[in-house]
Amino acid sequence: MKRVALLLAVLLTPGCFLSRTYVNAPIEEASIAQLRPGQTTAAQVVALLGAPTEVVQLGRRSAYRYEHDQQKRAGLFLIVVVFSNNDNQADRTWVFFDENDVLSHVGTTLEADTAQYAMPWSDLSE
């Protein structure tokens, strides 16, 4: 009976996978802390954080987006039933510049490390 149960278990679980994908380098909190609204220039921001992911024109002002994504995927194949979960979280910083390319505002969210491997029914609230 144990052999049959083992055989069934092997037959019913022919495949599963875990994968992780990164986009861009993580945003360092220490680098963000060096940004000084009213003092730091666009050139200094680029020297500190590198090339931005996106540049947005806002009249004569502008904003740069820096983003790092982490995606975790998990899947389970049970012959005719497939379960899969994809969790994509990001570190993101927007820096806003005035007409003279001096930093005026900064907004940061660092959540890339909270991406989780899970199944579709898992509680991802934490």
Binding site: V4, V56, G59, I79, Q89, W94, H105
Partner: protein, 147 residues
């Protein structure tokens, strides 16, 4: 022993059906829903960009609003998809397939509009494609300098 045979037969039938019947349960989450209390504490207008950024974090999107203003959008999604596929060979190299999918959620978010001094004018919560109906090109220098 008969019960064991039935289990084996059922397992063989399921294994044999795997090439023509598939059921899928997928979940895809992108970014996080933010704290409801934070959102509800945000005034509808009269606060600066700094206050919004510190309360809500970095937005997902930033656009121009009427040349001199600003639109920010924070978005997240948590989609669950149930789908089933049946594929039947009907004639040698031809086959017919039927697929059903149920997508329960769409991309949800908050959009905030700011005036030329980057003071909050209004914010609304809902589906992003309904709140931001069309993207516009960046303003030209003539439009920026127009009185």
């Amino acid at each position: 022993m008969i019960a064991l045979e039935r289990v084996l037969v059922a397992a063989l039938i399921v294994a044999g059906a795997s090439s023509c019947i598939t059921f899928q349960w997928n979940r895809s989450r992108e970014h996080r829903d933010f704290d409801r209390a934070t959102l509800e504490s945000l005034p509808k207008s009269g606060v600066g960009l700094d206050r919004c950024l510190s309360a809500m974090g970095a937005p997902t999107y930033v656009w121009e609003n009427e040349v001199h203003g600003l639109v920010l959008a924070w978005s997240w999604s948590d989609d669950r998809t149930f789908s089933g596929t049946v594929s039947i060979p009907v004639y040698r190299s031809q086959s017919a397939s039927l697929q059903y999918a149920d997508v329960r959620d769409r991309q949800h978010g908050v959009v905030a509009w700011f005036d030329e001094n980057w003071q909050l004018e209004d914010w609304r919560e809902g589906y992003l494609n309904e709140l931001v109906t069309q993207a516009r090109r960046p303003a030209t220098l003539d439009e920026i300098d127009a009185p």
